[in-house]
Amino acid sequence: MKKITIIATLILTTAVVIIGCKDKRDPGKIYMPDMAYSRGYETYAQRDSSIFTADPNDAGHKIFYNNLAPAGTMKRGELFPYPLAFDSNNYKISGQIQNPIVGDLPGKELEEAGRLYNINCGICHGEKGAANGPLSAKIGAIANFTQPKYIDMADGTMFYSITYGLNNMGSYASQLSREQRWKVIKYIRTLQPKTIATASAAADSTTAK
């Protein structure tokens, strides 16, 4: 009887020591693996790919990463795919593609477009589109939307640049859906002076200050 008590105490102490000394680099143990780990593919969950695939190239990877959607598929409610491929000539003709959103955005949608602008674009292009966002000094060559060049620029050309990136700017196709990109362009238009005449007048007034 005495022996059993001593053994039980020892086991308990070891268990306590093992659980107590958890390394923070280690995720630790769980009670019921059947209930904790998904049998299906779970985004970003750590799984050993060798269990699931016969492709030797994939073996050893611990994550099923964010795969692209199968070719030719489309998200529900999304606009039709953009017809121009990435190509320097296509950049020149991109202005011919019209913004599918006709007229001004209604208040709520413009607000949403502004929110997306501030998250994704404002970091460089600035809250007011004047190329003075927090990162603008580190990246450089940021487009100032209030300048005549960008007031003149067609929506389609802007869309091309957002989709494929241009110079220092990367592609935002993975962050903004096609519809969101068109809407953000509508929002950028609201940041710009109405005409080039007022823009150059504004530029004059800043230089005269």
Binding site: Y44, N120, I123, S136, K138
Partner: protein
């Protein structure tokens, strides 16, 4: 009257002259900086090469005369006729400089150039480094010394009593040693039981939870630098949090949006690993380039010779997922971020101050439920028309609110603690 008018006119003219002189002079001095910031700073730095060359010392490099004005007015047309313009343009990969002919007058350009010439590097603030001392060792030694003194005093006390007993002739039985003393043993067992029990229960509860889990990531990515110092919105990279169940780990493309241009780490935060080892930020950015298949020399992606749709050598970064909920719990980010308007920090802690991210909350059920009990929903107010219209169907709560039977509606009220909301 006419006499006064003359004096008045004279004074007015003087004031006018003074104002004119002073403002024009002042604006000239300030303008150089303002104009530089507005027109040049996005591509040029005074002391360092940026998208374009460093401007300091321009006068020693460019041809004399009005070359500089021509170049600023329209560099593209100058390039066709001038040899130096051609040379400098080729040196900077033929990136076209904006033509400022219509925007900047000669005086403006002079002001900018004067600002560049007069520019001096800002002096770094000098401050005494704050020394952090750890007193726990001192307190530990003090405690030990005090315990030792107490033990010695106890021994002295018992020995003295023994001596006095012997002197008075009182016969006492041999004292029981303390390790067989029943009251000592009892106290020891009680202490062991409560301390051991505490750790055992805590360990048992903590099993399957990962609070403070801080795995080592394939690239040392500091949230403090990105979300804190550089003020990048959480949703810039984790945009999925507003649209889907998953907050989503950004693809390499998202990293390259900025790191196409930013290839060096220049502070100000000091990068240190958990074990105190310094991190070379620039080397970590190089790791990113290897994952992205980006060639730093040509500043372009590797060609896709094996036709798999991505640059050769590019592969996803295998980030380690930190926040794991068991499969039997359903959690949706968009529900909390978009509808509930919760800040990321509510559950993830002050991410913008974490060099290496750890799991801030224990993500236990009690923690979820507690928040659901305390958090008020953005309930629809019929009279004011404010709040989330979805809640207009909760007729009873509207009436209760109106009759002051309740003052706010929590997540629990609308079913946020029902089992099958998260377990199904």
């Amino acid at each position: 009257m006419s006499r006064y008018r003359k004096i008045f006119n004279g004074i007015l003219a003087n004031i006018f002259l003074v104002v004119l002189l002073s403002t024009s002079f002042q604006s000239f001095a300030q303008d150089g900086q303002a104009l530089f910031k507005a027109n040049c700073a996005s591509c040029h730095k005074v002391d360092k090469d940026f998208t374009g060359p460093a401007l300091k010392g321009w006068s020693t490099r460019v041809p004399a005369g009005d070359w500089i004005y021509k170049w600023i007015a329209n560099s593209a047309s100058l390039k066709e006729t001038d040899a130096y313009a051609k040379e400098i343009s080729a040196k900077w990969n033929n990136v076209v400089m904006t033509a400022f002919g219509s925007q900047l007058k000669k005086e403006d350009i002079d002001a900018i150039l004067k600002y560049v010439d007069d520019w001096a590097p800002p002096v770094a603030p000098v401050g005494a480094p704050v020394e952090k001392t750890d007193d726990s060792l001192l307190f530990g030694i003090l405690t030990l010394v005090l315990a030792l003194i107490a033990f010695i005093l106890l021994q002295v006390n018992s020995n003295l009593r023994k001596l006095s007993d012997e002197k008075e002739g009182v016969l006492r039985t041999e004292p029981v040693p303390f390790y067989r003393n029943k009251s000592y043993l009892m106290v020891g067992i009680l202490v062991l039981f409560s301390v051991g029990g505490f750790y055992t229960i805590n360990g048992a509860i903590g099993m399957g939870r990962q609070q403070n889990y801080q795995p080592e990531q394939p690239i040392y990515y500091s949230h403090q630098v990105h979300a804190g110092t550089n003020q990048i919105s959480c949703l810039y990279c984790h945009g999925g949090a507003q649209d889907s169940k998953q907050a989503s780990i950004p693809s390499v493309n998202t990293c390259m949006n900025c790191h196409k241009a930013i290839d060096k780490y220049e502070g100000p935060d000091v990068l240190v690993r958990e074990n105190g080892k310094a991190v070379d930020g620039t080397a970590e950015i190089q790791k990113l380039y290897s994952y992205a298949g980006w060639n730093t020399n040509t500043k372009s992606y590797n060609p896709d010779n094996n036709n798999d749709g991505i640059p050769d050598g590019a592969r996803p970064i295998e980030w380690v997922k930190i926040h794991n909920l068991p499969d039997h719990v359903y959690f949706n980010h968009s529900q909390h971020v978009k509808v509930g308007k919760q800040a990321c920090q509510t559950c993830h802690g002050n991410i913008q101050q974490m060099p290496e991210v750890y799991q801030f909350s224990d993500l236990s059920m009690g923690w979820c439920i507690n928040c659901h009990r305390e958090t008020k929903v953005d309930f629809y107010n019929k009279e004011a028309g404010s709040g989330n219209k979805y809640y207009s169907i909760y007729e009873k709560f509207h009436n209760d609110l109106k009759n002051h039977k309740m003052d706010s509606v929590t997540v629990e009220n609308i079913g946020g603690t029902e089992c099958q909301k998260c377990h199904y």
